[in-house]
Symmetry: C2
Subunit: 232 residues, 2 copies
């Protein structure tokens, strides 16, 4: 099977699409993000992406090995946006907090992408750069290498997983959110207080879940705990 996908750097020749568009990896990722925003995770398909690009669906395969490859590229793009123009201040807690919030925000801006990429490890440049930066911050803070790794895994990995999952659940399309909420209300409303004495407290829980991000709180908590490990 001949390789159909050529790395970005080697590309020199470009032919415009029948509709005059000139394609690039970046343009395709951008378009895919727009489609995700407008039509949800299920709305991103090769055919529709081709249509949105003014190209044939199969053209996408000249740029990405397949839809999964594209999805990982999207994830890495968001990491890249989060890391863009970040420079450490020297205060490691503040720096890690800043990075966590940046990643959270990047995914909040594209929650549909969060749904697709949660629990994925891309190994792509921007994610690697993020790992590199965070490890550097931890080591710069005085953690021995082994501790830096342990703390990264125990706290930072979790924090980032939270951030992405939080975005996925918090910012679903409004229609779905309301549908979910309706399901919940119906379900809870039917339950007799005799068997479910705590049902009354769930209404504000629903509201909180729909509207408040718990991530910043958890981030601070995890960072404080990491700091305690350094002190101890």
């Amino acid at each position: 099977m001949a390789k159909r996908v050529v790395p970005e750097a080697a590309r020199r020749r470009r032919r415009p699409t029948k509709q005059g568009q000139v394609l690039t990896h970046a343009h395709i990722v951008e378009t895919a993000l727009r489609m995700l925003r407008e039509h949800g995770p299920a709305g991103l398909t090769a055919r529709r992406l081709g249509l949105a690009l003014g190209a044939d669906a199969s053209t996408v395969y000249r740029y990405f090995r397949g839809m999964d490859d594209l999805i990982l590229a999207i994830a890495d793009e968001l990491f890249g946006r989060a890391m863009a123009s970040f420079s450490p201040s020297g205060d490691w807690q503040a720096d890690l907090r800043e990075l966590g919030l940046r990643i959270h925000n990047a995914y909040l801006a594209h929650p549909q992408a969060a749904v697709l990429t949660a629990s994925r490890v891309t190994g792509r440049p921007n994610e690697v750069a993020s790992d590199e930066t965070i490890l550097g911050i931890l080591r710069g803070a005085g953690f021995p290498d082994a501790d830096a790794v342990r703390i990264y895994h125990a706290f930072i990995d979790q924090s980032l997983a939270f951030a992405i999952l939080d975005a996925a659940t918090l910012a679903l399309p409004k229609a779905a959110r309301e549908a979910d909420e309706e399901v919940w209300r119906d379900t809870y409303a039917r339950l007799p207080a005799s068997t479910h004495p705590n049902i009354a407290a769930t209404a504000p829980l629903l509201v909180a879940r729909m509207n408040d991000s718990a991530y910043p709180t958890a981030l601070d908590l995890l960072l404080a705990s990491a700091a305690a490990q350094l002190a101890g």
Copy 2:
């Protein structure tokens, strides 16, 4: 459109499949879980499920509205297993810890299901029962209702989200894990130490990510923080 799906309670008549199987919701969910374990998330399709059941694919639609409905049923089944025969001891921190670990374990046993259900809210009986139980524990511990809700959202929701995500990432099929690891090693090995001075520390990070669950640590941390809120 006539409703094709009848609630479990109303079912009375059963006809065996051409191959002699008698179907139930429980049996279908069980079979789906087995398929997930054996063939991964993408291996669970209506057709293959029908085949595994010794029935036509469309038969599944007599029991579930669609594949998504089935997936939510799977999620609720795992919640049910986690909550099975749980009874609070009266020590609220120990009880919440126990519940967190139970849910974590239930999803660890079916990581493929975790991949499918992460970031979903089912509103189904077992999940509702879990909410009910947890709220009861918090209120029983002396938290006013508003605090119970806030703590639930800030700590418990995150803990459970991470339990599921942790299962999803930690226990992927071995092949995929090794593939991922290989990708990572390749990626990192290529990076010059000049631009990535912390690369050396990533090898143990990979090992930790692949093998160690960070969830119990995070769970304790979140619970300790909740306890501090009660004291303060």
